[in-house]
């Protein structure tokens, strides 16, 4: 079972935060095919958010084929997210740790690193779509 949380400072729409958290859990393997997502009522009772927001997030996940609603039963995980295998993830994580240490030695602070990282992401994905 996944437990949602909200980050009010992120500026990310609430339904997208829920979508991201489900995807994150699918990547990490904490949610697996067949698992049931909490009902809208359960999420609402925990987070005091609009039930339509939860339904909107689930619709988005459904559209992407990640979950499926079964009438009267709930919403269930259909498939996990391919992405990198766990072993690849561990290796990439080690590279990233090494990079962060090097950046720190070079005198960069957290904000500098985040800026560099997001710039690299933006450039990289721009090349992809161009």
């Amino acid at each position: 079972m996944i437990e949602f949380h909200l980050d009010h400072r992120s500026g990310v729409a609430t339904y997208l935060q829920l979508v991201h958290q489900v995807k994150q859990a699918l990547r990490l393997g904490t949610l697996r095919p067949g698992d049931k997502l909490p009902t809208a009522r359960e999420v609402v009772d925990a987070l005091a958010i609009n039930p339509n927001t939860v339904l909107k997030a689930y619709r988005e996940l459904e559209r992407e084929g990640l979950v499926a609603g079964r009438p009267g039963l709930g919403t269930f995980v259909q498939r996990s997210i391919g992405g990198a295998r766990l072993a690849d993830q561990a290796a990439l994580r080690r590279d990233l740790d090494a990079w962060v240490r090097r950046a720190r030695t070079a005198g960069l602070d957290r904000d500098d690193m985040e800026t560099l990282f997001s710039m690299a992401m933006v450039d990289c994905f721009r090349e992809d779509t161009a």
Binding site: L6, H8, G11, A13, T14, Y15, T39, A40, R41, V44, D45, L47, A48, I49, N50, P51, N52, T53, K56
Partner: protein
């Protein structure tokens, strides 16, 4: 889309002053709509017209379903116990779900034999809300339901209201002058400024359509193509705009998304600006 509340060209005139002018809006069924605006903007007047307590000077209002209204200042009788408050509601309303009302209050841990004056502010709000909900409305109208509550009670009242919406088909219209209280709970936004509807629309759509821009001061009067300026200001060498419209490609502007509070404030500071659906959409 079925509509729970629609007003067309609504006007209300008190003595010589207009309280509302040409207000046209629609709230789709199943939404939780926030009615925001400064004190004196006409929020309570608009709600009173919506629930039929006040006849408009001009224009029309239509509410297809059953409506329940919770007035400001928790309308409870001090000398009544909670149970007597329910009995009173039962006698006054043709439709009344006593079983539901009792179960809801018991579930919230509110003693039915206690006088309402001896309840906490949060509990009083819950009793007033239960009296409104026991009428099994299609449209629930709440005038500043969170005013005078501490932050914990505000959260609890909103949370229990959201649970009600999750469990039954219900449209809610809530007025407030505190935008932060409505951030995660409302999916429809109506901004009322000076008796006029300035904004009416889906919250996520509105947030996606607006951008905050910063750029060199000399560009303050030449906003990027395809955008409409809601609010513009200049500080030293920098121009700041809040715009509605297309993504900005001009590299001299840097753009970031806006949050609900910024959006509302920008419109309220610019009374001439508005973001309303095309008339055809309002009529749909």
């Amino acid at each position: 889309m079925s509509v729970a509340l629609r007003t067309t060209g609504l006007g209300v005139r008190y003595r010589r002053a207009d309280a509302l002018r040409d207000c046209s809006l629609a709230v789709p069924a199943g939404r939780i709509a926030a009615l925001v605006g400064p004190n004196g903007a006409g929020k309570t007047t608009l709600l009173h017209v919506a629930v039929g307590l006040l006849t408009p000077t001009s224009g029309e209002v239509s509410v297809p379903g059953r409506v329940a209204f919770m007035a400001q200042d928790k309308p409870l009788y001090d000398t009544f116990t909670v149970a007597e408050m329910l009995a009173f509601g039962r006698r006054l309303n043709r439709v009344w779900d006593q079983e539901y009302a009792t179960a809801r209050l018991t579930g919230l841990g509110i003693p039915l034999d206690r006088r309402t004056a001896r309840l906490s502010g949060g509990q009083q709000a819950q009793v007033a809300l239960t009296v409104a909900l026991a009428r099994r409305p299609d449209l629930l109208v709440l005038d500043e339901p969170l005013a005078n509550l501490d932050p914990l009670a505000r959260h609890d009242v909103m949370r229990s209201l959201m649970v009600e919406v999750a469990e039954q088909p219900l449209t809610v219209l809530i007025s407030s002058h505190v935008v932060a209280d409505l951030r995660d709970t409302c999916d429809w936004l109506i901004v009322l400024g000076g008796g006029r509807v300035q904004v009416s629309g889906d919250v996520d759509d509105l947030l996606a359509e607006h951008l905050a821009l910063t750029g060199p001061a000399e560009l303050v009067d030449t906003p990027p193509a395809g955008t409409r300026v809601v609010e513009a200001s200049r500080t030293g060498r920098q121009a700041r705009l809040l715009v509605r419209g297309a993504p900005v490609l001009d590299p001299r502007w840097s753009a970031r998304p806006v949050d609900l509070e910024e959006l509302v404030m920008a419109y309220l500071r610019s009374p001439q600006a508005s973001a309303l659906p095309a008339l055809a959409a309002v009529r749909a």
